[in-house]
Amino acid sequence: MIELVQHFPALAIGVPLAFAFLLPLLKKWRNSAVIAALAALAVTEFLALFILQDVLQNGIRIYSMGAVVPGLATPEQMAVPVRILLSIDAFSAFMGAVAATIALLAGIYSIHFIRESHSKYFSLLLLMLAGALGLVFTGDMFNMFVFFEVLSISSIGLIAFWLHRAEPVEAGFKYLAISAVASIFVLFAVGLLYGQHGVLNIAGLSRSTLLYGFAFTDIIALALLVCAFSMKAGAAPMHYWVPDAYGEAPAAVTAMLAVASLASLYALFRIAFTVFGATPLIELVAFAVIIFGVLSLFLGATMSLVQKDLKRLIAYAGISQTGFILVALGVGLAAIHNTPLQPFGAMAMEGGVFHVINHAFYEALLFLCAGAVFLRTGTKDLNELGGLARRMPFTAFFFLIGGIAIAGLPPSSAFASKILIYESVYFFNPLIAVIALVSSVLVVVPMVKAFCAIFLGPEIGKFKKVREVPGAMLFTMLVLSALVIIFGLFPGAIVETIVSPAVNALLSQSAYVGGVL
């Protein structure tokens, strides 16, 4: 068992990848394809949770692809790592666990939600999971680019899954162009960093900036990386693709797309904190990130109010929640060289990282509820819906929990993370805290609107025969609501066990370098 544990990082990426390639062969046998896909998702979830537990106990785990021993980062006579390296610290393992959990739930939900070409759908879903896990587990800039691209391309296949309508195709095209532009600039930045520092390894780059500071090319590379990853994370004012893509993708895919955005955020902060954390350059980046965050908060919350399409409404509300994460981690980034502010920065980051997991859960929950409504009624238009609480009581209840969570009301988990953000950001700059608070209140409004429009009101004739969705779909929503409520009731325990280690992993650049090299 001890030996196998060493291989878990590679297996967590390899298993979904292998099954993604296997599924097209099972096209003829629908049930076996679904079972194989769910088995792969479950195994990956187990691996990701095990890695999280292992990393929390034993510190950074590295895996050198193709080496004689998994832990061999730098071969003999070499000063820098030459192989592709997976390096998993607490923050990576945290993100990996979130991604695997959402993917498993999305997979279970999709059994009934997707009616045709199961093998293609699950193959792409597994590929997406492999991309997300690779993106968060990798310790190599170029490998990060490759997995970023795998994630994007498989997402496009899923966004444009329903080809018989024009809108998903348009959304897919937009998402494809956006992610291609982002990845081209990422690759440019990777080239610049390689030319400047001579290594592609994140820990190697980090050591190089610790020793020699930054150069002119680093400024360009950092600006390119920050902009590209912010755009893929859906930060305003580069958020316009988000409602388009989220609105048109199948519901379970949208939950995974939210995870993909969070993985982009991971990449952004991994680079900002771990590679350039020691340079004075980082404070300027922090201000840029905070500005992106404040804009996202405000634009997302206000634009969410006027949406007529249910999924676009949730997508806009989600943008404002991404703003919370950006603001919190941006404040942490700004406080990194400012000794009196450091405790507040660390606390803001705790709130931000806690909000990452909460955001993934309630955003997924809301999108899954929206998908349930869409499955039974065939429409996402809020003006046409109404009175569904009589027919779909469970979905209504879960939607209510999701709405409470996204609005940041107690007892949901988002309340705990948001209060951490408010009170620490208040010490950094009261105005930002006020904007965050106001936009959080504003998000209540679209949720009330959506809930009333879909579930309350008189019964509508054409929805008289609507039934509750199948048990498997309800089960996934139940799990997510339970997680949201449990995390809200025991926030202290969650923050202590998984969030604080992740924050410490982000903050201590030298520990990362020491752990990997």
Binding site: F142, V146, E149, I153, I156, G157, A160, L163, R165, A166, E167, V169, E170, A171, G172, F173, K174, L176, A177, A180, V181, S183, I184, L187, F188, V190, G191, Y194, G195, L200, P243, D244, G247, E248, V306, Q307
Partner: protein, 124 residues
């Protein structure tokens, strides 16, 4: 100025190619032209990476051509890593182009136009 430009000609060209690609993406509303713009941008990055790995008077980075350890005046090799990056990037840009063209074809079939302004339905 001229000397700097001529010494760094590949990088200048790659920046120009990048700008051309951006121009297509910013100002052309035809979906195929956008795909062309993205391809040009991908080529710009490839050129940049190849130029990055080049050393003057260097030999190809092949294992059996490597000079013996400790050889005097051994010719330096070009850096192999950027070339590997370029190959991967070419593969990825091929996949992106193929997907983009097929989505453009699908858009045309649904809406009867390749003009993004006329085909667009998602806004607001």
């Amino acid at each position: 100025m001229i000397a700097v430009l001529s010494q760094n000609l590949p990088f200048v060209v790659s920046a120009l190619l990048l700008l051309i690609g951006m121009y297509a993406l910013l100002f052309k509303s035809n979906l195929i032209k956008m795909a062309i713009g993205l391809s040009v941008m991908g080529s710009a990055v490839n050129l940049f990476l190849i130029a990055l790995g080049y050393r003057q008077d260097s030999i190809a980075p092949i294992f059996t051509n490597a000079p013996l350890v400790g050889a005097v005046n051994a010719a330096e090799m070009a850096m192999p890593v950027p070339q590997a990056l370029t190959l991967t990037s070419i593969v990825i840009s091929l996949a992106v182009t193929a997907l983009m063209l097929s989505l453009a074809v699908l858009t045309f079939r649904h809406t009867g136009t390749l003009d993004a302004e006329k085909a667009g339905r998602l806004k607001g």
